[in-house]
């Protein structure tokens, strides 16, 4: 893992100090709320439905045991609402639940004291009061963590395939480039007030596991004929109201020109991206409207950076070597802990099949711990669990873990001989469900339980589906299915890329959900990135689990032996699925919707 230099360490400390200074000036009335807003966003602080939300960057998903413990401490000591605030919030959520036609149960209890892993490998906390914000940022800085540019109209936290450096199909380990790009983008003087947010993702393997087609800039590592490492550059992908998959603007940029080329892209965007309409401000709109003109402008700007400016951000071999030296194989030691696991048992075998993957090193495996479980929101880990994860990573994985964009946690350095003991330890923590990639491995944003942008809640839908699909025989029979869910069109839950997408919409103060079919994130399973298609008018919260079940039942009926959901959907077409979904509407609610 990357170890901060003295400069890096000092930098995040100063950033924490700067944030404290900004908050104090705001408290003294020297700054308005509107003036503070972009500044706190650039440090990862939102004001949500009931409390602030802190979004902490886990750059390219890589996290150490020490950092996990610190997140655990923040969850325990700081992620705490006052009893009055919690009572008010719960009462409001209960009223929201009661207002939904057909929902009989009470709203699930709001949780506190935990971190939430996101699709962009950040970790969010929902209840830290703003008065403690500066303390939390200083605590994070002490373990080389920060919230720099996890929000705001700037270059956001940079993501990678979670399996960089350990994948069997790895081409180039992108972590050094992601770190170099992270440093370059931090507090960039020219690019801190872009028209809109700007997200960069790297993928270093044959399979795209980083969803790079959905990013403002997606970088696919490859080598050229001379054997030099570099990247195919996609620009203009993005979800939101207008889902667009990124276009290739350059087939190959050699590694040392990476920052110069990104600078050209971002400069063209900063100059010409629309600022008159928030919904048309992402770079995807510029790329789409200008087409080849955009590519020409980027190439011209890149030439000018090289020929006229002297290409000052050309990455030197020395700098690459310095950063890459942090990403070598760590010292590996087997845990050799005893275990009583029945190696032939069905549960263990299923876990091996779904949660354990091959490794570039012989005798090693990667293990994904599942954060999709009954009674918990997708991607949530409470303080004690975060501590336990730190210990697991120490015992079994060279004190390192990776957040995945599917909101799970992966241990990248596990000895094959340690698998039974790790399984046992993970099972005790409730993190050994063998459901990675299966229907219950849903992606979900926090939605209207916490987020002030949300039009509808997503967690109660996730909970209902998780409870409905607990039979492992059934889950294994159904095979891999990506269900992605967002509480609003901002698409934090990546609903556009789900085989089944669920999007919360708001009509007359009630929660409604649009269902889409056939989206893809770009993985081998799903095929090239594409947005799903809407099945019809939206459904009520009470209807959604029945609609999903109708879709699944239709698949079961129409599939050929061994056929996967996404393949069957593409072979058969959407019509029978649409009919089934519409047939699952509740008669009374359908009348209400009119």
């Amino acid at each position: 893992m990357y170890q901060y230099t003295e400069f890096d360490q000092q930098f995040v400390k100063l950033r924490a100090q700067q944030f404290r200074d900004q908050l104090e000036r705001w408290e003294r009335g020297e700054m308005t709320d509107d003036q503070l807003l972009p500044l706190r966003l650039q440090n990862g602080w939102y004001i949500q439905r009931y409390a602030p939300m802190a979004r902490i960057a886990v750059p390219y998903g890589e996290i150490s045991s020490l950092q996990l413990r610190t997140l655990g401490r923040i969850a325990r000591e700081y992620d705490r609402p006052t009893p009055e605030l919690l009572a008010h919030a719960q009462a409001t959520q209960d009223a929201l639940q009661a207002a939904q036609p057909g929902l009989k149960l009470k709203a699930p209890p709001l949780r506190y004291g935990y971190g939430h892993f996101t699709t962009r490998t950040n970790c969010q906390f929902n209840w830290i009061p703003l008065s403690k914000a500066a303390d939390v940022m200083e605590l994070l800085a002490s373990v080389s963590m920060h919230g720099i540019q996890t929000s705001g109209n700037d270059i956001r936290n940079i993501t990678c395939d979670a399996w960089e450096g350990v994948a069997e199909d790895g081409i180039v380990d992108c972590r050094p480039f992601a770190e170099i790009t992270r440093q370059w983008s931090s507090l960039h003087p020219e690019f801190s007030y872009l028209p809109r947010k700007f997200k960069i993702a790297f993928n270093g393997a044959a399979e795209d596991r980083a969803a790079i087609g959905w990013y403002d800039i997606g970088l696919q590592a490859r080598t050229n004929e001379a054997g030099e490492a570099g990247f195919t550059v996609l620009v203009g992908g993005g979800m939101g109201r207008t889902p667009i998959v990124g276009a290739v603007v350059r087939e190959f940029i050699v590694w040392h020109q990476l920052l110069n080329y990104i600078e050209a892209i971002v400069r063209v965007y900063n100059s010409y991206g629309r600022r008159d309409n928030k919904w048309k401000a992402r770079i995807k709109i510029l790329v789409k409207s200008e087409g080849q003109g955009f590519i020409d402008a980027v190439e011209k700007e890149y030439r000018a950076i090289v020929d006229l400016d002297g290409a000052p951000h050309t990455i030197t071999q020395a700098e690459f070597d310095r950063v890459a030296s942090h990403f070598v194989v760590p010292e590996l030691k087997a845990a050799n802990l005893p275990s009583n696991v029945d190696a032939q048992g069905q549960l263990y075998q299923r876990w091996l099949k779904q949660n354990v993957r091959g490794h570039k090193l012989a005798g090693m495996k990667t293990v994904t711990l599942s954060f999709k479980r009954v009674g918990f929101n997708p991607g949530d880990a409470d303080g004690d669990t975060l501590d336990a994860l730190a210990l697991l990573a120490e015992q079994f994985s060279a004190a390192e873990a990776r957040l995945t964009h599917e909101q799970n946690l992966m241990l990248p350095w596990v000895f094959e001989s340690d698998l039974p003991a790790l399984y046992e330890a993970a099972r005790k923590l409730g993190l050994a469900q063998p459901n990675i990639g299966l229907l219950t491995d849903m992606i979900s944003c926090p939605g209207g339980d916490f987020c002030s942008l949300a039009n509808a809640r997503s967690l109660h839908i996730a909970a209902a589906l998780t409870e409905r699909y607990q039979d492992l025989d059934e889950l294994f029979d159904l095979g891999p299915i990506d269900i992605h869910m967002s509480g609003c069109i901002n698409s934090c839950g990546h609903h556009h890329s789900g085989h089944i997408g669920i999007l919360g919409v708001d009509k007359d103060g009630k929660e409604w959900y649009q269902i889409t079919l056939g989206g893809a994130d770009g993985s081998s399973l799903s095929g090239p990135a594409i947005g799903g298609k809407v099945v019809g008018p939206s459904f009520s919260a009470a209807e959604v689990p029945d609609v999903i079940e109708a879709l699944i039942d239709t698949f079961r009926e129409l599939r050929q032996p061994g056929e996967l959901f996404i393949d069957a959907l593409r072979r058969i077409g959407h019509d029978p699925f649409k009919q089934a979904a519409n047939g699952a509407r509740h008669p009374k609610e359908a009348a209400l919707a009119d």
Partner: protein
């Protein structure tokens, strides 16, 4: 960087020595047409403090077109953007109405250095450190 309060903005510079460039102007065309000739001050505007186009314009004026006169920021100029402006090539800034300059200086004092190159120091940190290292080794 010369920081002026809102009421201090007016000064005696002759109109033909100053040039106001709009956020959507094509710099390359302006420069090619000789718009910078004899100009001592370029004024760039921030219609909102969240509108960052003028940063790029300042960077290009300095780095690409080698403009050596004053570049002045006007409009919604607030304390927390001043360091970005300075690093992008602005040499003066007129604070928005009601903004006190008191908290400005400590923003400039906070960071000794930044990662990426800018107008003041075109080399990124890694290139600067490599040079320092070479000097140390030579000594």
């Amino acid at each position: 960087m010369h920081i002026l309060a809102h009421h201090e903005a007016a000064d005696g510079l002759a109109a033909d020595k100053t040039l106001e460039i709009a956020n959507d102007a094509e710099l390359a065309d302006l420069v090619a047409g000789g718009a910078l000739d004899g100009i001592e001050r370029v004024t760039l505007h921030f219609p909102k403090f969240t509108d960052g186009r003028a940063y790029t314009q300042a960077v290009l004026l300095r780095r690409r077109y080698h403009f050596r006169g004053d570049i002045r920021a006007t409009g919604e100029v607030l304390i927390d953007q001043l360091v970005h402006m300075h690093r992008s090539g602005f040499t003066s800034a007129v604070l928005a109405e009601g903004v006190q300059a008191g908290a400005a200086q400590r923003q400039f004092d906070r960071y000794a250095a930044f990662y990426q190159g800018d107008v003041l120091e075109p080399r990124p940190l890694f290139a600067r450190e490599a040079l320092q290292q070479a000097v140390l080794e030579a000594a």
